[in-house]
């Protein structure tokens, strides 16, 4: 785990009891994790009011960099404490850092894993079933018709419009007996194929 020179400098300040009291250190650690995981929350904490703003800024940046780098590398406790030891933090402060890290590790990995581009993620499908009776061009056009709406979400672009389309019963799932040798095109059949392959893949 490697940190930039600026972050290393900040970490050394983190371990300096003259710059940062024990209580201020604990408050700063909480603020740093909060800042990474819930970026909208502020850093303000009464415990930190006595700290020199320039020191506070560098310490906070260093703690955040350390948290993010550890999360990115999926560093374990040993790797993280080794890195902090290099920056001359004492046992107690290292222990505190590692405990906070373990506590937030899962949320941190989830957050980091969601960064980056990916196609819109389908989260749900809603459907309604209608029975077509007649159109302007054709009377007695009896046919069941499905309208499917796929709900999607996108990690960077925020909300994504839902995707709606219609589908006949045969397109949703056709009777295998009549089309024994032709390629499957029905939606449910294809999704089931994918699910089957997925199941096989997980057994490997």
């Amino acid at each position: 785990m490697e940190l930039s020179a600026y972050a290393q400098g900040g970490c050394r300040l983190l371990g300096d009891p003259r710059r940062l009291s024990r209580r201020a250190y604990a408050a700063l650690l909480r603020a740093a994790f909060r800042g990474v995981l819930q970026p909208r929350g502020g850093v303000a904490d009464p415990e930190l009011s006595d700290v020199d703003p320039a020191v506070l800024k560098q310490c906070h940046a260093a703690a955040a960099a350390c948290i993010l780098e550890a999360g990115r590398q999926r560093a374990d406790r040993a790797a993280l404490s080794a890195c902090l030891e290099e920056c001359k933090l004492d046992r107690e402060r290292i222990e505190q850092f590692c405990t906070e890290y373990q506590k937030h590790r899962e949320a941190l990995e989830e957050l980091l894993g969601s960064i980056g581009r990916a196609p819109p993620h389908v989260t749900d499908v809603s459907w309604h079933l209608a029975y077509r009776i007649q159109t302007h061009e054709l009377h007695r056009a009896y046919q069941p018709t499905y309208l499917l709406t796929l709900s999607t979400e996108n990690s960077d672009a925020g909300s994504q419009p839902d995707l709606s389309f219609s589908c006949t019963m045969e397109q949703l799932q056709f009777q295998r007996t009549t089309l024994l040798y032709s390629r499957k095109t029905d939606l449910v059949g294809k999704l089931k194929d994918a699910a089957k392959s997925l199941e096989r893949a997980t057994q490997l």
């Binding site: 999360g71 990115r72 590398q73 999926r74 990995e109 980091l112 894993g113 960064i115 980056g116 990916a118 196609p119 819109p120 993620h121 389908v122 989260t123 749900d124 499908v125 809603s126 459907w127 079933l129 029975y131 077509r132 009776i133 159109t135 302007h136 061009e137 054709l138 009377h139 007695r140 056009a141 009896y142 069941p144 499905y146 309208l147 499917l148 796929l150 999607t152 995707l163 709606s164 389309f165 219609s166 589908c167 006949t168 019963m169 397109q171 949703l172 799932q173 095109t185 939606l187 449910v188 294809k190 999704l191 089931k192 194929d193 994918a194 699910a195 392959s197 997925l198 893949a201 997980t202």
Partner: protein
Amino acid sequence: MLLVLSEEQKAHLGCLPRVGGAGLALSESWGTWRWSCCGAARRLRPVRRLPVRGKLNAGVDTVQHGVEGLMYLLTESSKLMISEMDFQDSIHVLGFSDELNKLLLQLYLDNRKEIRSILGELAPKLPSYHSLEWRLDVQLASRSLRQQIKPAVTMKLHLNDNEDLTTQVLQTDPSTLLHLIQQLEQALGEMKTNHCRRIARNMK
């Protein structure tokens, strides 16, 4: 249900006995061709270009009107799905010979299915399902998070939107995939419930 023809339409159809059965057969062969090609627009190409005109021994306008009248007769009858008996009664007012009436009836019965299927395509349409391709991936790492194991199903959904094929690339996770299948199977099952079957039966 009887088909009501306007005086103008009757006059247009009046040329049929003059061009005779041979003309009718020829009209049929390119009439149906025309339905398939121009069905959506229901527009006639100028009759001048048609090779049959010379054989019909009639003026351009007469042939064109005759064919238009015939197309109206067959399209409307097919649209309303009128019975054999009602069709015969509807054309009775034209005062044609029994032989010609029989020919017209046969023309109607022979082509009704195809005409209905073409008319069925003219229903107002939402984007409709065409096909689906899928791919199974496992994300192993990204810039912001190393050492991941994140299975993903990438899907390419082909939709038919007013004759244009459009594609959408989507992604989902294994548990959502199973949820999608389950929801769609419920949708399929719904058509088999007593409620839906009763409605469908009573409509027919």
